[in-house]
Amino acid sequence: MDQMIFAAEIFLNGLMTGVMYALVALGFVLIFKASGVFNYAQGVLALFAALTLVGIQQGQVPFAHMINAVFGTHVEHFGWTVPSVLAIILTGAVMVLLAFLIEKLVLQHLVGQAPIILFMATIGLAYFLEGLGDVMWGANIKNLDVGLPQGISESIEGVTANWFGYGFFIDRLDIWATVIAALLVAALVAFAQYTKQGRAMRAVADDHQAALSVGISLRFIWVMVWSIAGFVALVAGIMWGTKSGVQFSLSLIALKALPVLMLGGFTSIPGAIVGGLIIGVGEKLFEFFIGPMVGGATENWFAYVLALLFLVFRPQGLFGERIIERV
């Protein structure tokens, strides 16, 4: 009986970890859907967003190290702090600017190239952004606090203690992350299904020539899609940054998004969510039930093995489009 209650607690926590994975996976799906490009830089985009947010919020001088080294000065901070909301809006603006530059400097020159070329370009982009983030804001681990509540949720602990005689430990940050992710997904789905720009985005994803012929500007759509991906990265960056500090290993969460995508399918927004939840819950429960039998630390590999099984038996994922090629 006790074990079932523990499992229930782990299940809930797994769901919420899954939401965090899904947040990163969403960014991948968006760009993949609209341009057929697997954006390797999505994780770094989240890191860069988080770094920029902290930098703006704390009034850090960008490129401080470089400026100091060149001019022999000692500037570090502007001496002000920016309110969280304003800092988030400014960071959003930076992400839009970044999307614009990526289109202008990289994508525009690669129109009509094979997807593998674009994929390689995003690898380059990932390393460039990681370096840029380092030079701009410094490599130290930063604390990100935008006023999201953290710590154990006492009300849930109280309620569950009443019911089961055992209080569940649920982080309030995880609850908020879930709510915010749900809103984000609802907004994205409404956007893609019902707005003119969303329709245009789906059209571009399907056929470039046809999209042009009905009057859709490819450039506009690409800037828009990368801006949205940047925005999703910002949200993911805020959540992960608040949870575990803004550090460069943040860009590695992109690795966890891969199995999520293989499960959910690269082209499905709901797939990213369900995939994230399955991986989140799966790895936690697997660790709880099977972990002790095999010496633990299963969380490191569970997601990848599951993804591998999917690749063998259902390569398009749970919700992805079935790829049929006529010969």
């Binding site: 707005t195 399907d206 056929d207």
Partner: protein, 270 residues
């Protein structure tokens, strides 16, 4: 706009010059795909561009629709010179097209495909659209009405919810025409609308082209290499061969033009 308005034998009205191509030359590297060609398209007419394979017909259509930018020459539209434009800008001017190899959004339903033709007519704000409220609702209803009319007109009611990828070739062609029509274009460009069709499908398509012109008053420029179809369909015909214009006039004039006869019968070029 120098010509008089004319009434054709079957009672359609043909107005002044809507579009004029002046001395268009298009090169790909050293190859001249179009050599110094001029012609005009008048309001309300069905204008055909014909010629054997490789004559430069498709290149011409791509020039009109902005997919290619000619090295020399001028394009005039509604009495004003059109600068170099991107294809999507041309589409926004009111010039819709179809493709020889069909370019549809395979993942979307027939209805959604046709709705994309209305994208440029949607003005409502972004939030209003996402929340389905105010101006967006009115607009969507208006757009749907036009789209439904096109669907009725082309007799594709029964497949409106079918994903386009599953349709047979002939129907795909019709959906593509529907999408172009939904945009209420001032000029409709059709790139080989009958290519690859059987006789029955060709007859259907011919009828649709004529009806579109008649009922919506749409100016149509079409490319075709099947002489028979074109001659019955069009008001005036431009004939191209090896990138040059070798004939221009009514179907009867063109039919009796010696150069055109040579090109089609395959007289050796020197």
């Amino acid at each position: 706009m120098n010509q008089q308005t004319e009434i054709t034998a079957d009672g359609r009205q043909i107005g002044g010059t809507l579009m004029e191509m002046k001395n268009i030359t298009l090169r790909f590297g050293g190859v001249e795909a179009i050599k110094n060609i001029s012609f005009d398209i008048r309001e309300g007419e069905i204008r055909a561009i014909i010629g054997p394979n490789g004559a430069g017909k498709s290149s011409m259509l791509n020039v009109i629709s902005g997919f290619y930018v000619p090295q020399e020459g001028e394009i005039w539209f509604k009495g004003a010179r059109r600068g170099p434009m991107k294809p999507y800008e041309v589409a926004r001017l009111g010039i819709a097209r179809t493709f020889q190899n069909i370019a549809l959004f395979d993942g979307m339903t027939v209805l959604d495909n046709i709705m994309t033709g209305r994208l440029n007519r949607m003005r409502a704000g972004f939030l209003s659209q996402a929340l389905w409220w105010g101006a967006a609702e009115r607009e969507e209803i208006e757009n749907r009405e036009r789209v439904e009319r096109v669907i009725d007109f082309l007799e594709i009611q029964n497949i409106r919810k079918t994903p386009v990828g599953r349709l047979p070739y002939g129907l795909k062609k019709r959906v593509e025409l529907a999408r172009a029509l939904a945009a209420e274009p001032q000029i409709l460009l059709l790139d080989e609308p009958m290519a690859g069709m059987n006789v029955e499908e060709k007859e259907d398509m011919s009828r649709f082209v004529l009806d579109v012109n008649d009922e919506f008053g749409t100016t149509i420029a079409l490319i075709e290499h099947d002489m028979g179809v074109v001659m019955d369909l069009s008001d005036r015909v431009v004939v191209m061969d090896y990138g040059r214009k070798i004939g221009d006039g009514t179907p009867d004039e063109v039919r009796n033009n010696q150069e055109v006869i040579d090109a089609y019968l395959g007289v050796a070029h020197d």
